[in-house]
Subunit: 221 residues, 2 copies
DNA sequence: ATGCCATATTGTAATTTATACATTTAGTTA
DNA sequence: TAACTAAATGTATAAATTACAATATGGCAT
């Protein structure tokens, strides 16, 4: 039953899937197999089904492309310019996802499809308005790292302060002072010591985990 | 031409229109004249036309309800739960708008329709999932006041520091120290002196305006 | 002219937070 | 046991935040 007699736009969900690979921030892109923009790289996505929520659609797309679930997922922005898709009126609700590099190894090689990880400083020309969308997503990503704890979702449950610092350095593409970084993070009072990791051939580091119920609010850096 | 054979959701734009009236933060609501939720108050909105962008739709709705243009407008979030509208699948892209209290006087009495301003601490039961949406909007509003200069859009071009402080006190519902507030604002280096306002029956205040090209970036408070 | 009223304007000390910067420690490996 | 690797640590300075109260400038009433 249509709620209005007027023609309605189509609705898609596109998802920006970020991870860290080879000490670089990467985003997953797919190669378009059909026109328009056939052969061009694009942000993965698809139509929203009538019986699934937007978030469910994002989760489904994510799973289709990567085989795993996101360690962090949030809605990004809805792009709805009239001519953003040459085929007709298409509104796209975008999400961004973070995937922990550990899981990643399970999958990224498995799928022989047209999906590929791109370091964010080596992005090819993209289809539709996807360059604008990616740019927006990177802004939001950095903002989130600065003011929230999303960064921790890229780490295993137990991690060292050096690992954490590395992630921040990759995302912001700059070095931080080790002493100040540690001081800052520890002063937040959000970490729990988890014992020492002896499996290294140098001074063994302390492992930490995020305290329970610490997921929001806190400001970092 | 449909891009997919599957049934598609409908798309609406809802807009949260905020202003300051009687020293209180107010939001504009409309009384529903049809089922479902007939007689209940709701956030104003309507269907997106096939030939207008989402933002254009928001601007149109805003103008229909208030007769004026927003002093600030931004997309808020897109709500798309499957059962949020009992009539069928409706995705709503929400916007929030700020309207300067000066303009307001021109209009708010003019329109004899079912629209009404509500102080945000006296909101009635709302239709659909609109309570959730309003709550989200208030969070975002406060966040924006804290970290950006949107607050200035509620003031006339020339304003006093007391007026500015008042707006912040209303939005955050708390008092700020006068000396520290002024220190903070002035230290941002974003204000230009505009001479003294003699039309008061007490010590005349300095008028300020926002310097040109200062619209983003800066962090307040 | 004087005193009253209302709001605007101003400063300083104490505390907290941010920044800059180099050495020592604990383990492995040759 | 010497060399290597990454982990852990402290201190002085600067900058930002907080707490707090008296004086200034005009209009208005007498």
């Amino acid at each position: 039953m249509a709620l209005t007699d007027y023609p309605q736009p189509s609705v898609t969900v596109d998802i920006l899937i970020f991870t860290i690979r080879n000490n670089q921030l990467n985003v997953l892109l797919i190669k378009r197999k059909i026109s328009p923009f056939k052969g061009a790289w694009a942000i993965p996505g698809g139509f929203v089904r009538i019986d699934e929520s937007l978030e469910d659609a994002a989760i489904r797309e994510l799973k289709e492309e990567t085989g795993v679930e996101a360690d962090y997922l949030e809605q990004l922005y809805t792009f709805g310019d009239v001519k953003r898709d040459p085929r007709g009126r298409v509104i796209t609700v975008t999400y961004f996802a973070l995937i922990n590099s550990e899981k990643l190894k399970l999958k990224s090689s498995t799928d022989a499809s047209e999906a590929k990880w791109f370091p964010i400083d080596k992005i090819p020309k993209l289809a539709f308005d996807h360059e604008k969308i990616l740019k927006y997503a990177l802004q939001r990503l950095r903002w989130k790292f600065e003011y929230t704890l999303v960064g921790f979702s890229l780490l295993p449950k137990k991690f060292t302060l050096s690992q954490l610092q590395k992630i921040y350095e990759i995302v912001f593409n700059k070095k931080f002072d080790k002493r100040n970084f540690r001081k800052k993070i520890l002063s937040l009072g959000i970490l729990k010591e988890e014992g020492i990791d002896k499996n290294v051939s140098h001074r063994p580091p302390m492992l930490y985990s995020l305290k329970k119920n610490v997921k929001n609010i806190v400001e970092i850096l």
